[in-house]
Structure formats: structure tokens, C-alpha cells
């Protein structure tokens, strides 16, 4: 599946703007950290994941749920592009089944 990065960035920006910036995205830089800017909290990250899975038909694996992949428009675009191209993703932490404190 081929998608252009500009289109992905626009879709992610629209999602963030509609749900978290009350429709105003003019000041949001592509590199701005969603966490540090206070745009997404942990529930927001879950909703971003749901949006990406629904929109691009990808499965966001546990080890991929890290800020390097999801904390800005730029990082999301890079991550989605890698996923759509079937490229390997950065390694993170695998939750250990049955370990109450170890889940993602």
C-alpha cells in the first residue's frame, strides 16, 4: 500500500486537531511532542493508536507503543510509513503475560 507522507501527515493532523485542539491546528509543528505540549494524555495515546489501526489497517504492536513512534506528527508519519512498507520497527518492551506490573 503506497501512501504519500504528506497525506498521512494531513490525516494525523486532522485527527489531532479535531479531537484534541478544538479544530485549531495552526500552531502545531510537525515535530511538536504530543506529551510535552500537553496535547495527548495516556487515553489520548490509546485513541491515536485506534485511529491509526482503523485508518491504515495496521496493527500497532505492544513493542511499538513508544514515543519514538507516536509522539509527534513527524514520528507518526515515519512510523506509519514503515508499517505500510512492511519495514522492521524499533524494539521496545514486550509485556510479560501474567506480570501485573509489566504490561504496556
Amino acid at each position: 500500500m503506497e501512501m504519500d507522507n504528506v497525506a498521512i501527515a494531513q490525516e494525523v493532523r486532522s485527527f489531532i486537531a479535531a479531537d484534541y485542539l478544538l479544530g485549531h491546528d495552526g500552531d502545531l509543528a510537525d515535530s511538536a511532542s504530543f506529551l510535552e505540549e500537553g496535547i495527548l494524555d495516556s487515553t489520548g495515546v490509546l485513541q491515536l493508536i485506534a485511529f491509526l489501526e482503523r485508518t491504515y489497517g495496521i496493527r500497532v504492536e505492544n513493542e511499538e507503543v513508544i514515543p519514538n513512534n507516536l509522539d509527534s506528527i513527524s514520528s507518526v508519519v515515519e512510523y506509519v510509513t514503515r508499517k505500510l512498507n512492511g519495514a522492521a520497527t524499533p524494539q521496545g518492551c514486550e509485556p510479560s503475560a501474567g506480570n501485573p506490573g509489566g504490561g504496556v
Partner: protein, 329 residues
């Protein structure tokens, strides 16, 4: 004050006798003079916080003016009711039991929660039990996202990351428990013209570890300014039974036993106490780390989490906001 002194184990030590008298005077003033109530209702869970509040209220208002209310439901630990009764008997206060299971069933609390769990664990049911957990601070990930732990009747467990819909659904359904409990507390408070005494400690109050209009609702919150370790100091001073003082804190909300740090704090409570103290007093993460056995990055993650939770808790603590002025009140 040097950093080493600032994070010594003694920084959270209080003069329990003096603090007790200060709180007792405060309860008396709030309940009798400010609120014009005749006594206090306390939802007693058998945990350290509610036990301390019950002891403080009995001392402040006299035992005849305190009602200890127990609100077990089908998924509660049996220890909760047993230890709650122990508190009431130790104080000689009146006690009442309200089994809230029928109300929760009528509201479909359990069904709604289980349905939400099945969004990520489709086979959930038939005697399975669950709880939701956070990753520990030792996990280098910055995202503190909840997972659900499901245990089958044969003891096998699995841990699955929650999606937004499942997480919000589980929390919304289980919040019935705290809200129904508070409803019963206010029933008795209305009947007796009593105030409802809330039981949050400082960690819970500051970081939003409560349900809005559930356990977050109360007329007076006598220990909301105390760190958890200070609550334990007060408990020892007040003579709270040792079994209660030794009981590991639990949320008693999910069918699988869930520690408070699994649900909210990510760290053992004594370490969380120090981290909150460090954050509140501007102690750099590098200076606090050695005192709590964490490296600088881990302390910084806790500081960041405190900031995020504190911000999210503003909504939980907010009173209803008017959009027009009512100058008469």
C-alpha cells in the same frame, strides 16, 4: 537545606500527637460549626485511610456521633468487612452494613465491565477474573498505558494492552462501585443530619486517585494533606489495630486483587511518597534517586507522571462551573 538532608527518611516524620489534635480540632470546627451537622458518616473499608479517619472522627465528635458504614459487594475481599468491623468495635461506634451488590447488578456494573473486557479478550467470562494494571516505573517506556490482566479459573493469566474503548468502558463501569458507596453514605448522612467524611490521603487527593462524585465526594477530608507514610504514623499513634496497619493497600475494586501501585502509582507507596515530596519541594531527580533506590531517569519519569496526573485531576476536583453569574450565593 542540602539535598541529602532534604531527602532523608525523616522528612516525612510528623509529631503525630500534635497533628492529631490539630485535625481533631479541624473536624470539630468543620462539622459542628461550618456545616452545622450533628456527626459524621465514614465509609470504612478496613484499609488504613478510612480507619484513621474513623478514629479521628470518633475523637473529634465523640463515638456516639459517628457511624461506620460498610458497603461490601460480591467482588469485595472478605477482609474488608471483617477489618471494618474491627475498627467499629475498637472505637465503640455504631455500624451499618449495606450490601451494594443488588444495586450494582441493577445498574449492570458487572455486565458492562465484562463486556468492555471482551473488547480485547473476547473469550473473557465463565469464572474468569480481571484487574487493570499500569507498567512499573522500571519499564523504560514513557507511555503509562493500562493493560488488563485476566485470570482463568485454572489460574492461568494473560496480560493484554487495552484499547481506548475498552479502558474507558472498564473504568466507567467499575466507577459505579464508588458512586453507589457514596450514595449510601449520603443516605445515612441525610437520615442522621451527619456530614460525610472522605478518606483520601495526599497522594490520592493530589494525583486524582478517586472517582468524581464517588469516593471523591465528601463534606470534609481530614487527611487529604497527609502523605501516606504520615497516615501510618497517625494510625500508630491513634491505636489503629495492627492487622489493619500491616495490610497492603488495595483498591478492592476488581475481582482480581489489585494493589494501589498497579492501578495508579507505578511504585511502592513509600517510594511514591518520597517522589511526591521531592516534586513538591523542587528536589532534582538526580538528588532524590539514591534515597528511593531509583536512577535519575526513573525519578524523572515519576515526576513527569505526577505532573500529568495532577493536571488530569483538575477535572476530577472541579466543582460544577457556572457560565453565568449568580451573585446572591
Amino acid at each position: 537545606m542540602s539535598a541529602s538532608l532534604a531527602v532523608s527518611p525523616y522528612v516525612l516524620r510528623i509529631d503525630a500527637a500534635t497533628e492529631t489534635e490539630r485535625i481533631v480540632a479541624g473536624i470539630r470546627n468543620v462539622v459542628f460549626r461550618q456545616l452545622k451537622r450533628r456527626g459524621a458518616v465514614i465509609g470504612v473499608s478496613g484499609g488504613i485511610d478510612s480507619s484513621v479517619v474513623a478514629f479521628l472522627c470518633a475523637r473529634a465528635l465523640r463515638k456516639e456521633r459517628v457511624l461506620a458504614l460498610f458497603t461490601p459487594e460480591t467482588e469485595s475481599s472478605s477482609d474488608s468487612l471483617r477489618l471494618g468491623r474491627m475498627v467499629a468495635e475498637a472505637l465503640g461506634v455504631r455500624a451499618a452494613v449495606e450490601d451494594i451488590t443488588p444495586i450494582l447488578k441493577a445498574a449492570q456494573c458487572y455486565e458492562r465491565r465484562d463486556e468492555a473486557v471482551r473488547k480485547v479478550v473476547p473469550e473473557y467470562g465463565g469464572g474468569d477474573r480481571c484487574k487493570i494494571v499500569l507498567p512499573g516505573v522500571h519499564d523504560p517506556q514513557r507511555y503509562a498505558l493500562f493493560s488488563v490482566v485476566v485470570q482463568a479459573p485454572d489460574g492461568q493469566t494473560k496480560c493484554v494492552r487495552l484499547n481506548a474503548e475498552a479502558y474507558l468502558g472498564i473504568v466507567a463501569a467499575t466507577n459505579f462501585k464508588q458512586r453507589v458507596r457514596k450514595m449510601m453514605e449520603y443516605y445515612h448522612a441525610d437520615r442522621l443530619q451527619y456530614a460525610v467524611a472522605g478518606t483520601p490521603n495526599r497522594l490520592e487527593y493530589d494525583l486524582g486517585f478517586f472517582v468524581k462524585n464517588g469516593d471523591g465526594a465528601a463534606d470534609v477530608k481530614p487527611i487529604a494533606h497527609l502523605y501516606k507514610s504520615q497516615v501510618y504514623q497517625l494510625a500508630a499513634h491513634l491505636g489503629v489495630p495492627e492487622e489493619i496497619r500491616r495490610r497492603p493497600p488495595t483498591t478492592d475494586t476488581y475481582p482480581l486483587e489489585q494493589s494501589q501501585e498497579e492501578f495508579y502509582f507505578m511504585l511502592p507507596l513509600e517510594k511514591m511518597d518520597f517522589c511526591l515530596y521531592g516534586k513538591n519541594n523542587g528536589i532534582p531527580a538526580a538528588d532524590l534517586g539514591p534515597a528511593v533506590g531509583l536512577d535519575t531517569d526513573q525519578v524523572q519519569r515519576v515526576y513527569d507522571a505526577i505532573q500529568a496526573k495532577r493536571k488530569a485531576a483538575q477535572y476530577l476536583r472541579a466543582a460544577p462551573v457556572l457560565v453565568g453569574e449568580v451573585s446572591e450565593v
